[in-house]
Symmetry: C2
Subunit: 484 residues, 2 copies
């Protein structure tokens, strides 16, 4: 393992990351807010550190191999949040590093869980930075899951193409990734621009439109108000948000294909998308009917409005809220958290198991039931007509198993540290699936502020694990990885 070549790469990324701080700095200048000095200092420190890291390791610079990718990816998502805390720490002297790191990790993993309250009183530039981190995190994640992880042999998108199922040892990483990234980002920014303009058109100010566009596109969930989208109290704004959350939950490579082939049929032919939209619509209707039945809101239409926004928000792992849905009869919020564990598509900015894995697991379970009746029958598992190799199925099963184990371990650690069962288990779900709000003490009306430092670190690590699809982080803890 070459640590130094990886550091050389990360150094360049840190220097680039410093340039991203110019965006909130622009808002600070424009708004004459307290964040100005903080962002100038933070940009300089970050750029300086990146430069030093890059120069000091210059002679180790070389083409990275797929195996270096594991170290690169995890270190990137550990180091960038650290630099991202600088402006927060400088602008808010009362903020601890633990909380600041949680906040920036939450942004860059597009989790959107927050430890801050009184968001409306923060400098505009700080809120912009929080939300902008989600947009940047989303960009990173799309490239990560579509282009990088498949080369390393992990991640859900590798399941689509058997030719990328095994990592290609001798393939050079950078040129191929750069090419894919350009295409994906073009699509991402096109949709983002449409989202930005739609939010403004629906009634948001430009700054609000920008911040909530960032948070929507990354399926992040940060808002500039403690009441989240409830602060706008506008059905039109909610409808726009629902539309773009739904769009952002789809595999972005599909949009790339839609654009190249100039045909929406691509979406219809995609296995995941064909399940995704009906699942979302069905869930919204189910919860709306359930809320009506329980008389939570006076009319069905009001139930439908709140179900549409909050169910889509949680199921797509975004995490916005318009009402305190934790007060709904418990079946509703638990169903929403259940959905967020698997309902987004691979190649989106959503978290969790992903639909493709769930579909494969479902098919495999069916196959085993058939095998019990016909023990000698050969029943292949197929996906869109093609047979899925058993090795791929095994890796999906292992993912699922590790996902469950991580869920149990995180919950147990939080229980051990004194949280109640509902808070601990839903915090684990909300962090590992990069959703944001859970229930109980971390519910939509509260946030992660009340956690102890230990609990905050557990949640921070859970967000990281979930975001990097578990295996790509956990592999670093195996002795095999470090052996030559």
């Amino acid at each position: 393992m070459g640590l130094l070549p990886v550091i050389a790469m990360i150094g360049r990324m840190v220097a680039l990351f410093a340039l991203l701080m110019l965006v909130p700095l622009g808002f600070a200048w424009f708004d004459h807010d307290r964040g100005e000095d903080a962002f100038i200092t933070a940009t300089l420190i970050t750029f300086g550190c990146g430069l030093v890291m890059s120069l000091a390791t210059r002679r180790f610079r070389r083409e990275l191999q797929p195996r270096d990718g594991f170290l690169l990816v995890t270190l990137t998502w550990l180091i960038l949040p650290a630099f991202a805390t600088l402006p927060l720490l400088l602008a808010m002297p009362d903020l601890s590093f633990t909380d600041a790191y949680f906040e920036t990790m939450s942004g860059l993993t597009t989790t959107g869980a927050t430890v801050l309250t009184g968001l409306e009183k923060l400098p505009l530039s700080v809120n912009v930075w929080r939300c902008f981190l989600v947009l940047v995190g989303g960009m990173g994640i799309i490239v990560l899951v579509v282009a990088i992880l498949p080369l390393m042999g992990v991640g859900a998108t590798q399941l689509f193409k058997s030719e990328t199922a095994g990592p290609m040892k001798d393939q050079k990483l950078t040129p191929r990734i750069a090419e894919t990234a350009r295409g994906l980002w073009a699509v991402y920014f096109t949709v983002a621009t449409a989202c930005f303009l739609s939010f403004h058109w629906a009634g948001m100010g430009w700054a609000d439109a920008f911040m909530h566009m960032c948070s929507t596109m990354g399926l992040g969930g940060f808002a500039a108000y403690d009441a989240s989208f409830g602060a706008f109290n506008s059905p039109l704004i909610e409808a726009v948000a629902v539309f773009f959350m739904l769009l952002a939950g789809v595999n972005f490579s599909l949009y790339f294909l839609v654009w190249k082939k100039r045909s929406l049929l691509v979406l219809w032919r995609d296995l995941e998308a064909r399940v995704y939209f009906p699942l979302m619509i069905g869930s919204v209707l189910l919860i709306a009917a359930f809320l009506s039945w329980h008389g939570v809101y006076p009319t069905f239409w009001e139930s439908l409005r709140h179900a549409a926004f909050n169910v889509v928000s949680i199921a797509t792992t975004t995490g916005f809220a318009t009402v305190d849905y934790a007060q709904w009869p418990i079946f509703a919020p638990v169903t929403m958290l259940f959905l967020c564990s698997f309902a987004t598509c691979a190649g989106s900015t959503g978290g969790g198991i992903k639909l493709i894995r769930s579909l494969l697991l479902h098919k495999q379970a069916q196959r085993e039931l058939t095998r019990i009746v016909h023990p000698r029958a050969v029943v292949p598992v197929t996906l869109g007509g093609a047979v899925v190799p058993n090795q791929v199925l095994a890796s999906v099963q292992a993912f699922m198993l590790i996902y469950g184990s991580v869920m149990v371990v995180v919950t147990m650690l939080l229980l051990f540290s004194g949280l109640d069962l509902i808070t601990a288990s839903t915090a684990a779900i909300a962090c590992i699936n990069n959703t944001g709000p859970g229930l109980g003490q971390v519910g939509p009306a509260n946030n992660f502020q009340g956690l102890t430092d230990f609990q905050t670190w557990v949640c921070t690590f859970a967000m990281l694990l979930g975001r990097l699809e578990l295996l790509s982080v956990l592999v670093l803890f195996t002795p095999t990885f470090w052996r030559r």
Copy 2:
């Protein structure tokens, strides 16, 4: 599928089952309690029904094939509890059929969850019948999992011997099963006798010793007192119970081997047993230390005493209690419920996933992590030196998946019907793992009495599913099974 040959077989079992009612009837005579008439009537009705079922289907009687086994097993565990309700319904006119069926299903699946309170005021014979059902259920389960399910290609014990991994289509079921059953039951009754005498020696009356022996051997958890083992308040009785609960959690075929080879080394050589005992002891010490640390009891010894009994009771899926451990800091009871999901050995009367499956899943997850680093390496999963075929691994994975799905579905149904999250999720765990008590409304200080009829039926079906290792029931719901 031959429904009628299966009914012919079940008819004979029902007639035999009637004879088992003579045991509580004996206690009723001896104790001159109110149950006398109830048991006489119930015995006659049951015997008559069995005879009619058997005679009416006489001409369809034939050797059963492995595939008939699925229908046989599920129908047996559906029909016997129905007949078992007769004495309860006759002796307790206020009891609904729903509750009575829950109670007898709970006994015959060795779950030990109860809907009855004021147990000490019930006729002795009724309490004997409840507990005796657990002993009978345990006998059935050991033969089921060691001899019957492996022939059908399901169950955890099939994992031990590759030669039984695939069902043998042409093998005749009955002689082979009868032979295995004789050996296992000899061991079972030897241990049961030792347990019975030990309980009496430790201070229980003969009737109490008999009832609690039944409940211990089947890892059932029914007691003759509302306070469960807390009613005795005797460290010696608790120690005896802990000892025999631990013994009953081990694969009974091992004891058969110990006896044949006259060597305890068999236990040491067994993969499961080698994990089982340290796991139990470690968990007890962990929880004892945790209780001490939180100052739940004045001394470490008292913490150890209560941890030893209650942790072993829940982890082995027995379900006795000496204290209301739901009041302990929540990490402790959740850990106990977590243990009950996997900590017993295949071939015991315990429920859950079983250690052997957990070990295989753990090894497979490790393999996938290795494969990520060395994609072209061939890393077989081994068990006690032998390579485990991929097909076996796939079936374990499918089991695990279906286990998780059933857990989610049962929890969701209970939530939908209005239970709170803690009650619903722990009731699902407690029923599917055949443990008994959960937390919240179904905690050790309460029971399942407060549930609605719908909730009671959901729990009843969950106990059945868990007991019959899920797949052997669910296969009946596949169209493939019913096709010729």
